[in-house]
Every structure is written in C-alpha cells, then in structure tokens.
Amino acid sequence: GCGSSKSKSGGASTGGGKTVLNVGMPDGATLPANNNPYLDSSFAKKLGYTWLIWEPLAMQDEAKPDQDPAPWLATKWSWSPDYSQVTLTVRDGVKWSDGTPLTADDVAYSFQIQKDHKEVDYYSLAIKGVTTSGNQVTVSFDGSQYVNRTKILSTQVINKKQWSAMADPSKDTVANPIGTGPYTIKTTTPSTVTVSARSDYWGTAPKVKTINFTTYSSNDTMGAALTSGAAEWSYYFMSDAKSTFVAKDPAHYKLYFPAQLSADGLWFNTTKKPYDNPHLRRAMSMVINRDDIFNQGEAGYFKPEIANVTGIPTPQGEPYIAAQFKNISPVTGVAAAKKELTDNGFTYSGTTLVDPTGKPVTMTLTDPADWNDYQTDLAIIKDNLASIGINATVDKANDDAWFDNIAKGNFDAALHWTNSGTTPYDMYDQIMDSAGLEPLGTAATGDFGRYKNPAADAALKAYSNATDDAGRKAAMDNLEQLFVQEMPMIPTSAGNLGAEYSTKNWSGWPSADNAYEAPQPTRWGMEDIVLHLTPSS
C-alpha cells in the first residue's frame, strides 16, 4: 500500500487516547494550500476542511432534504411570505478564532461580499440588499428564493475584518483563515493540511483533537491509503471496494452510500430516430439488467439498484410510488421486450432488430472514459441490448467533449444522473419538463433528451402548484404513469452521497442504522459528523 509502513505516522493512535483523524481525498493537488472557501479549486473545498473553519447559518442533512435544517450560527430565521427576504438571528457567544466575537456585521458581510463580487456568488443568488439591526440580519433578494432556501442557509459566515481587507476575495489564498468553526489550521504541507481543535469553540468541544486532510494523487493511492488505514474517511468510487477495502477489515472498514431521490439512467436523444419511439425505449428497459449493473458496474454498493419501473429509488421513494406500480420490476425479459417491439412495427432480420422504417437499430452509448462504473454499466447495457437485436457500441468520450455533447443534445444515448430533491418531482422535472428544453446545439441544463410532452408538462405543473397532499399524490401518480409509458430515460441506479470510513479509531459515524447525516467528507454535513465522533473503545 502507498506509504504503507512509514506513513503510519499520521495514522491512528498516538499513545492511549486517540486524537487524530485522517481524511483523504484523491484530488492530486500539490500546491501551496489555498484555503479560499469560495473556490472549488481550493484545498479547503476539495478536501472539505472549509466546513470546519467557516460554519453555515444552519445545518441541513442532505440525505433528508425534506427535513428542516438545524440552527447553527443562526439561531432563528424567518422568510417573508414571498420568500424574497430572510431575517436571521445571529447566535450569541460565538468567538472567531482570533478571539473577537461574531457579530451581525460579519453575517451581513458574508452576503454583501456575494453581492459585490459576482465571482464568489456561487449560487447566483441575486442578493438585493443586506441590512443589520442588533443581532439580526435581513437579506433581501430579487424574486422568490423558495427553491434556494437551504442554499442560503448554508452560506458560510466569514470574518468581515479579514475579508474586507482583501483586494480580491476570489484570488486570495486566505493564508491565515479566521473562522468560527471548531478547528484552526495547524500546519500545511504540499499534500496535507492539519487542523486542530479550538479550545474556545462555541459548541461542545470536539473529541477529535487533530484532523489531517490529505490529498492523494490518484484513486489508486487513495485506495491504498484507505486499506492500510492511513486514511480513515474518504469519498470516491472504488471499483473493488468490497474485495480490496471492506474485506481487509470487515469489522471496521465500512461503506455507507445512502441514496438520494434521484436516478442515474440511460438518457436518449428523443429527437433522433428511432430513439424517439417509446416502444423501443420500453423494450430496452425490459432487458437492461439493473442487478448486474449494481453488482458488477457499481461494485455492489455505489449507486443502489433501481428496482421499480417508475425509476423511483426504493426504499427511500417507496411512499411516492403509485399503487399499480408497487413492486413492479422494470425488467420483464427478452420475450416480452421482443413482443413489445414486434407489436409496434419493429421487425427482425435474422437476429438484427429493424425499425419500422426498415433500418437496423444501432446506437452509440457514450460516457467519459474515466468513469469506471458507467463504463461497466454501458458494457452490460450493450450486452443486454444485443439480446433484443440492437447493435450498440460504446464510445469512451473525453469528459469535456461528452459534457458538451450531452448539453447540446449531440448523442444517441448516455448514462447520466438527474437532480435530486425532497420528492421524485425534481427527478421527473429534469427528465420531462420541456421548460428546460433547448434546441439541439444549444447547451441545456435539464431535459438533455429534448423530451417534449404537453401531458408531462401539465402534470409537473399540477404537482408544483398543488395545495394539498391529495393533489400532489394524484399529480405524482400521473407523472409515474406517463414516465412508465414513455420511458424518456431508462433509470438504472439511484443517486447517492457516501463515504468509505473506518471505525477502528473513531465511532459515531452515520450509517444505515444511525442515519443522522449525509456521510460525505466534502459536504457541509461533515462538521456535524466530526462533532459526533468519539474514540472507539
């Protein structure tokens, strides 16, 4: 394993009491560490320690988006009825790491800076104005921020004194960050940032005294570090997680990848013949083996299998599934698929499927080469499709070319994810809402398949405008019905958040049994997790 014998230094136990936690990410950055919380390219954000320094106003469990967030630096918040303004109450008794107290001015500045510097306005929030009175801060926006509620509350609070002195907040490396969080930066090397716990943290003192955030140059070295115990917490796709990671120490090495309400699946360019034919898509769905995809492509843990014909991940989405689709598997076998096809104008010439216009059905499945799971998934799909006479080829695209092609509708079929949300609405919305439709050749952010169906648009509208659960249920059932019939995208796996972690030195991790937080070390819930950790006995 990488740095095997020697690198134990950063490892677990030092003496009797465990004090050090090792977090690793396979990012490969080796630079003077950049701590800027506004930059995706910064160490702080890539490795996740940004959340331990600059805290959010409220703590949201991303795995449970329908839950209300917990108060954090804001003890209270109230939205104006039209959701264009929020008033926050700033927590008392919070001290910056330089010893000065957190004030409403700091919180206000955290919004003001996004208004003044568009390049750090990560979510394009369109902030109109920020005012303070006492320990209250009022932020007003252009238009309703209903959908952005959580994002606004996750705003990290920065120190006004420090940031207002900066010439350009987007270019500063923030060498000595001042934050309210439980940790401060102790040392920095080209590959590791070590943070240590503050003694004057406003909340309960963390048990983990020191955390090493290490960047590994590749998945291979990351894997080696995890298996050797040199790293105890990470998030990335290990194609061989079960055999090379968990199997090394089943008692301690854990995988926890909770699903979100989103689906990964095969998107079609529904403007292209013959992929515009719903019967073809349905037939394909009938033979795609989700089981194999989960076990072989997703290594049996990564993206959970979607076993319901509606594409809604179970068990999370179980309550939303219409009665007639409960426990209905999308896979019905080759015979059924062939029947579906031959009943609807398709024919066979030998073993080759021929579309109603007389052309053999072929398709190119494309996904970036370095997404191992998708590549295996595609190989499986290709093989499955061959069973109904479709000759598919897999094109391993370059990341950017692929992204560009998908956004511009320049593809036959590709595995892609959907948005996730509190209900399956977000997922269906991205797949079917023609509001996101852009002409071919123009980049779109949703509806990559260029699917357009007035009934679907109406159903989506009905759901979002519904005033009661019954209305919502009816609209959702309708949506599911439409989806199953049209199958504009063939769902295969559920979206997820997740982590590989070790309970050898630390316990208190979120798990299926104790699902208090999304486990990913780079998302904002990580602060909550760190605060939950206690030395293993």
Binding site: G1, C2, G3, S4, S5, K6, S7, S9, G10, G28, A29, T30, L31, P32, N34, N36, L39, D40, S41, K118, E119, D121, Y122, Y123, S124, K151, S170, K171, D172, T173, T187, T189, P190, S191, T192, N212, T214, Y216, S217, S218, D220, T221, A224, A225, A230, P368, W371, N398, D399, D400, A401, F403, D404, N405, A407, W417, A443, T445, G495, T522
Partner: protein, 323 residues
C-alpha cells in the same frame, strides 16, 4: 555571425510557431473550463454555479480568438503565463514550478542514467558482436518493447511490498517536510526509476550497438589494432568515441522530451509532475496551464537541441571552427 544569427532566427521561429500551435490546438477541444469542472465533479457542482465560475475565469467576456492570442503574446513577453483555471488562483508559473522538479528529478535523471547505461552496454554489445552477447539482444528488445506504464503497474503490484518499497512516486503523503524528506523521496523514486530505466535502456543499447558495428568496420579501427593498442583502448577511444556522435543528438531530443513525454509514468506512480499536470489541464480546459506546459516543453526541446548542437561540436572536431 551570419550563421549564428540564422540559427537564432531558426530557434525563434520554431518557438513562435510552436507557441502559436500550442495556443490554437487546445482551443479546438469542445467545451470550456467551466463545463469541464462541472463534468469532473459529476453533478456535485450545482448548475447554478456556472455563472460565478464564468466570471471567475474571465470567460464571461467574449473575446475573439485573435485578441486572446494577441493578449497571450503580450502576456508572454512579460514572462507572465497567466493564472491556472484548475488551480485557481495560482499562477501557471507556480504550478509549473512545483511540478517541474519532480519531472526533471525523476525523468530527467532516469533519462540520463538510461542513456549512460544503455550506451555503455551498447558499446560493449557492438564490440562483442558475434559472441554470446548477441544472444542477449532479443531480451533487450523485449525489455524495451514493454510499455512502461504496464511495467510500472506490475512493479507496483508485485515488487513494491516484497521489497518494502512505496508504490507511489513523490513522497510519503502527510510527511511534514524536513531534512529527512530527501531520503524519503529517493525511496519513493526507486520503483519509477527502475521502470523507466529498464524500459528505455534497450533503445540506447541497440542504436549504440549498431553504430559500433558500423564504426568498427572503419579503417582507423583496423589501424588502431595494427598499432597494437589494447582492446579496451581501441573500443573506447577509437570505436565508441566515434560511434557516440549520432547518439548525441538523439540524446538531446530525449532530454528535451523529458518534460512532456511521460505523463503515464507520472500517472502510474502518482508523481505530481508536469506530464500529470498537462493531462489534468487538458481535461480541465485549463488553457493557461496547457500553454504553459507546452511552452516549457518547447523551450526544453529547443534548449536540449541547442545543447546537443554544442555537445556535438565539442565532440566532433570536424564541425568546429576551421583552424
């Protein structure tokens, strides 16, 4: 002087041509830096972030390619390579500065070592042509035909733990830099160095051997034998010295390509060198970094060529100034 100016003009022209090509080719890749950031993060970056990123990278101002090019040339003339998108807001020079030592240190050293060892063995093999040494040639060809990344991975998997060697290049992650880091780095370099040397010795060996065989047929070698000189002396001072000449320019090329030629080694051994940066830069549409790397490669190749020219002149009196 005219000759010298011509040479200089040639180097400058090549530099300019390479810079220009290096500017335009990356821009032919579809997509842009923000798209690829989004793609790389595979859904983790919120789609709403696109706008702020565009502003951040200066992609919001729609400059024409020509004016970008002009801007780039002006920047270059100030020695400014711009700011890397992928490592925002680090200047490209910093990124290159941190990557170059690894590449030069490992690949430069091994290239030189492989050249020295390979050439030395080639001298021997050429001298002993027709003996058992010839029997080793197929083995040498075999070694030199092994893809180095493949060998690297095999080494990592099968050699590292029995030998107690680290599998990655670079250094022990998490180590606090100190004076002992040198030893640590050396330790980490053993496997990558071994891989490169084993796979590249063969080429030098074979070409040197061929030259030796050619040179030993020259009259002055027979004369050297007739002079009763010792075998070693004839081999080194007469045969090898002359046979070496063609290898010199090849070596110059190889040295020049050190910087850009071996990203796979860096990938396999997770060495944070220039090659790896380049590949990351390409997939991240990090134009400033791509251009920076290409520039470094171009300059390195030209410089190495120039040095090879000089070395050639030093080694071959016939090309020197006539008395």
């Amino acid at each position: 002087m005219r000759y010298f100016l011509r040479r200089l003009g040639f180097y400058l022209f090549t530099l300019w041509a390479a810079i220009t090509i290096n500017f335009f080719i990356p821009r032919m890749i579809p997509g842009n830096a923000v798209d690829s950031l989004l793609a790389q993060r595979r859904g983790e970056v919120d789609s709403q972030a696109v706008q702020s990123l565009n502003i951040l990278f200066g992609l919001d101002k729609h400059q024409s390619l020509a004016s970008q090019y002009w801007h780039y040339l002006v920047q270059l003339s100030h020695g400014d390579l711009g700011i890397s998108f992928g490592n925002f807001p680090e200047p490209v020079t910093t990124v290159l500065g941190s990557a170059l030592p690894w590449t030069l240190g490992l690949i430069g050293t091994t290239t030189i070592l492989a050249f020295l060892i390979g050439t030395g063995l080639g001298v021997f093999a050429g001298w002993k042509r027709g003996t058992w040494v010839d029997g080793l040639l197929p083995a040498t060809s075999f070694l030199s035909s092994i893809p180095y990344f493949w060998l690297g991975l095999i080494c990592v998997a099968w050699l590292a733990s029995p030998l107690g060697l680290p599998t990655s290049g670079g250094y022990t992650v998490g180590n606090v830099p100190g004076w002992n880091i040198a030893g640590d780095i050396l330790n980490h370099m053993i496997l990558p160095a071994l891989t490169i040397i084993v796979t590249s010795i063969g080429g030098w060996l074979l070409s040197m051997r061929n030259m030796m065989v050619t040179v030993t047929a020259e009259d002055y070698i027979t004369v050297a034998h007739a002079k009763g000189l010792s075998g070693t002396r004839v081999m080194t001072k007469y045969a090898a010295r002359n046979a070496l000449l063609p290898s010199v320019s090849g070596f110059g090329m190889a040295l020049g390509l050190v910087v850009g030629g071996t990203f796979l080694v860096e990938q396999v051994f997770s060495l944070p060198g220039v090659g790896l940066q380049l590949i990351n830069a390409i997939s991240g549409h990090d134009y400033p970094l791509i251009q920076g790397v290409f520039l470094v490669v171009t300059v390195a190749v030209l410089a190495a060529n120039f040095l090879a020219d000089l070395a050639y002149m030093a080694l071959d009196p016939r090309t020197r100034k006539e008395g």
